[in-house]
Amino acid sequence: MNDPAATLAPQAWETLCEVRLRGTLLRPDPHHTGELELMGLVVRRGDLVAITDAGRAAHAARARIAPGSPEEAAAREVYQRFGPLNARLLRLCTEWQLRPGGVPNDHSDPEYDIRILDRLTATLDCACAELNRLAAVDARFAGYADRLDAAMRRVDRGEHAWVASVTCDSVHSVWMLLHEELLCALGVSRADEQPVA
């Protein structure tokens, strides 16, 4: 059988997706990872679970949208517009962390911060419009717009970590997962991506 992920129970498949997108997962529900461990798709060490090469391959086969399908065409269209949005978002996260001249942003200048956050909000608005269209043809993309919106609302309440922290589902964290999800859906490897300055 060359597609070991095809028969996974829904919860196990969802867990495999999450481990694949994040690379590692801290303290996942053992009920959902047991089967994956037995199949060699993930490895557990203490509290951490990591994807194996076999797990990546199994995920890639099932995550790929059928080539030539209308769903793939829709995803490809969104992916093409994602590139420039991605460059904008990464630049804004960087400017949020560092002011011109490479000075760390100590967030003592509310006008500077508000300028960045306004542009971040505008970028996410563009992305969410795309995502809503995509979610209509592929359910796996359904949650991202809400997750980005939830993170941005926390930022708007003054919780700065929700811009780019890796320890919560910040705007940048969720965006990275979305990026990885798009690459998996279209069978594109990061190495093949055109760098956007």
């Binding site: 690379g23 060490r45 990591a50 890796v166 940048h172 990061r190 760098p195």
Partner: protein, 124 residues
């Protein structure tokens, strides 16, 4: 750092900081992250060599506080640049290595200015 060392590459720092040194280790997969986390005390002395500026699997290792990160591609605006800044971990992006950097090599990174960092390997 030993008295004799050789420049093996330059790149763009993600933020300005003082010189750092440590033991180079090439990290290419989530499984290697698990292996390295078996010895968290050692992680504090490591300079991680990364190929992929969009790597999503490094977070647990970055949480363990490596000395520095060197990435052979990307820019300070890449995912890895943003993430290492969040952790306050010195990082050099877009490094073109002019010599192989085997695991265990002692490396020193100097942050020369906002645009340039230099990586040296100790001659043993």
């Amino acid at each position: 750092m030993s008295a004799t060392s050789t420049v093996i590459g330059t790149g763009t720092p993600t933020f300005a900081t003082g010189a750092v040194d440590g033991e180079a280790v090439h990290v290419t997969s989530p499984l290697e992250v698990l292996d390295l986390l078996d010895d968290t005390a050692r992680v504090a002395g490591l300079v991680l060599l990364i190929d992929e500026p969009g790597a999503t699997f490094l977070s647990p290792l970055l949480l363990a506080g490596p000395r520095a990160v060197i990435c052979t591609a990307g820019t300070p605006k890449s995912h890895l640049g943003i993430v290492t800044r969040e952790f306050d971990i010195p990082c050099v992006m877009g490094v073109a290595l002019t010599a192989p950097l085997p695991d265990g090599t002692r490396v020193e990174i100097t942050f020369d200015d906002a645009e340039h960092a230099t990586i040296r390997a100790s001659d043993r």
